[in-house]
Amino acid sequence: MNLPFEHIRMYRRQGVIKPVFIREPLGILDTLIAVFKDHREKKRGQLNEVVSDCEHLGYDFRMVRGIASVLESRSLFQSRSSIPPLDARRQVFTEAAASVVASKNERLRVLEAVAERNGLTVEMLEDNLYADLEDEQYLVDFNEPSNEELMRYYNYANMIALLAYSLRLEIRYSGSDEYLENLLKRIKTAEVSGTNRKKVVIELKPTRRLGQRASRIDEILSRVIALPEWRLKTNIKYPQRYKTVCTFEIDSGGDGKLLAVDRSDPETIIEIGLPKKKLYKYGDILVVDDLARRQGVTAAQILKEISEEGSKYIDLGGVLVSSKKHQEIEANLKTLNTLGEAQTYLRALGVGDFMAVLESFGYQIEWSKPRRNSKIYRL
């Protein structure tokens, strides 16, 4: 995983940039683990408030937020409702509309009437009213790490977020990992050399799709750092408007010991555990830029090829959808609430750049952490 980019911690001096690693288990790690543990069976809104308060404990707020992001990725939140919240609201508001509810008694009368009709208690109805909001979700499961594990997961996530700004990655490693090698073969800009001690050079262009870039780098490095011996050398332009390109180096013998990949992150597990889906030549839905990049050709060449094939696609602005899929996707997206759900749904259709598809269907995103839980909506 990677941290949200606004929570990157780094220092830069004389052309060298380094992520700020946590080098020893700090008290804040234990504090935040305890906060998450104590909020099992409590609402996300309450948890967020306590995490905000932890920002005033004297640590850099970005570190606090970053650690909380790592812990959130190890948490499972769930909505709980006895009747559909939308239905509950409609009944309550209709009942209350006849008069102005200004006192506790008036409120109770309305809630009692609706609760009775639905066979619920007033407390259950109250709890049900906005159960579909993110802040009202319950923390139902939390996979508790030790403070040292958390420290390493945080360091890794912070480094990956910074590496999303890389222009060049040079990885040297010894050992063998078939998955990693297949992964590198699929990257057009990767040059692999050597047999026992391998050297991989990946040239990258600056991108605005940092999230996508970070997850690709994560996919590679999560395999690399599991190898016995490795070394990473990168050129980083962070932030992108910064004029100077800085270097960053790390290896298994040095600061590499401070890193570990959090295998409980569902995104990571899905990426590594499942065999790569074989793409059809065109598929029912495709993002032209995405496909062009993967095939190492221009978008115009892809479009020309498609047009020559005679395939009929609906163009949603760089995203091509077959007419039979179009309605199905639109209907299915309406039933989804979070970015994670949309990502899973669209990835299953073979879409790499799912954000472009969401945008083309007019969806907007209210970002929150973890990223997967961000709400999608359209006005």
Binding site: T94, S99, G317, E359, G362
Partner: protein, 440 residues
């Protein structure tokens, strides 16, 4: 002979480069300069072939819509300005009708660009009703291109390179959105010679006017709500109610706000404009004290904007006006949901599913619901059924937001007088915000 072609948002000149005023001779120009190039070539009498514009053929457009006197004036001024420019008219004064008449007058392919999908549907309905022809739509998964097409800003931007040479007239609804860097590309990549921008307010501080002037044209006509109140809009009264904080709230407010003020004093900083404030926010990334000051300021503003006396006054106000259709505006979603739970009033925020929002607005229209709580999502872009009372519990210092919120209660009906109550916490920075939002 020169040949003009359109390619991916650019006008490409094959042959001799074109020398436009203040520019080096060039062979490639952003598409929005198309009319300048044509004017230049016509003026110089140099021969050219124009393959750039591939305008969609338009059937005869005829509507029975009638303009009011001020709308006719607006249209006249816009036409006199070479069919380019921005019209500023308050919410509910008929900007859409003005655009419909402009389309009828121009008889050419037209793209209407709007900020939300809801507005795409609303504009389509109006245009279908006006001209009785199929209207195209772009956005929300729709890609139907017709001589008259309505698009969201996002879709118009995504398809600019492909559709940029099909329309001769482009209407930007809520034109202030065009100043966002990504949206500017729409205006730059379409070659439409005729351009109309519509908005309720155009504040120099919020929208760089020179950019709009370059891309759409100058402001050609402007009327405010006071100009139309009583005649074409409902009479209205704005009441600013200053409410004291409770002793505990005042103590906490002062404590937090002083942390912020002390920091500014210590660092010799002055916040005189949004740019100063932005610079202060930037400091918070590297200075923990600045971060603390910002948090303290936010906490102080939370207290001022969401004070208990405001809630008590709101309850009293609703009790004494139970029959009035009321919109209650706040700045924070959290307050919307807290009040919704406490007073059992339906709420609309950006988190509200479309189906529920339509249901709430439908019930509000039919009178089943008398009150709606909302944050900023109803400020613009959604057709809100007529209300006669609005309460601003909290808002920004933006004059546009204030005018838009006021506009929500101004649709005229016989004998109607609209009331807008603005609740402000006395002795806090909100008093200044209230002053700023009402400043013309």
């Amino acid at each position: 002979m020169r040949e003009l072609n359109y390619s991916r948002g650019q006008i490409v000149v094959d042959g001799e480069p074109v020398y436009l005023d203040q520019l080096e001779p060039m062979n490639s120009f952003p598409a929005y300069m198309y009319h300048q190039i044509i004017q230049h070539l016509e003026k110089s009498g140099e021969p050219y072939r124009d393959n750039a514009a591939q305008l969609l053929e338009t059937p005869r457009l005829k509507t029975t819509f009638q303009l009011r006197d001020y709308q006719s004036s607006a249209l006249k001024y816009w036409t006199q300005a070479d069919c380019r420019g921005i019209v500023v008219l308050p919410t509910g004064s008929g900007k859409t009708v003005l655009a419909v008449k402009a389309i009828e007058e121009q008889q050419c392919s037209t793209l209407v660009v709007v900020p939300t999908l809801v507005l795409v549907d609303q504009w389509r309905q109006v245009l279908e009703q006006a001209f009785n022809i199929p209207i195209g739509a772009l956005g929300g998964g729709k890609e139907e291109i017709e001589p008259l097409t309505v698009s969201t800003y996002d879709s118009a931007r995504l398809r600019a390179r492909k559709l940029g040479n099909l329309f001769d007239f482009i209407v930007f609804d809520e034109v202030h959105h065009l100043t966002a860097p990504s949206n500017r590309r729409i205006a730059e990549r379409y070659l439409a010679r005729k351009r109309m921008g519509l908005t309720a307010t155009l504040q120099k501080a919020e929208a760089p006017l020179e950019i709009l002037e370059e891309l759409v044209g100058p402001k050609v006509f402007e009327l405010g709500v006071t100009d139309l109140a009583g005649s074409h809009l409902a009479d209205f009264t704005v009441k600013t109610i200053r409410l004291p904080l409770s002793a505990a709230e005042q103590f906490e407010y002062n404590r937090q706000y002083n942390i912020y003020r002390d920091y500014l004093k210590k660092r010799n900083l002055q916040i005189r404009s949004s740019r100063d404030y932005l610079n202060f926010v930037k400091r918070t990334g590297r200075d923990p004290e600045a971060r603390r000051a910002l948090t303290a300021r936010n906490q102080a503003m939370d207290i001022a904007l969401n004070s208990s006396s405001k809630i008590a006054y709101l309850k009293q106000l609703l009790k004494s006006n139970p029959g009035e259709k009321t919109l209650i505006f706040t700045s924070h979603n959290k307050l919307v949901y807290n009040l919704s739970k406490e007073m059992l009033i339906p709420a609309i925020t950006h988190q509200t599913p479309q189906e529920e929002r339509e249901d709430i607005l439908g019930r509000f229209h039919s009178g089943d619901y008398k009150r709606i709580l909302t944050s900023r999502v109803l400020d613009e872009g959604v057709d809100v059924p007529d209300a006669s009372m609005a309460v601003i519990l909290s808002g920004s210092g933006s004059n546009r937001q204030f005018v838009q919120r006021l506009g929500r209660i101004l649709r005229k009906s016989p004998g109607k007088e609209a009331f807008l109550f603005e609740l402000v916490s006395q002795g806090t920075a909100e008093v200044y915000m209230s002053y700023r939002r009402k400043r013309q």
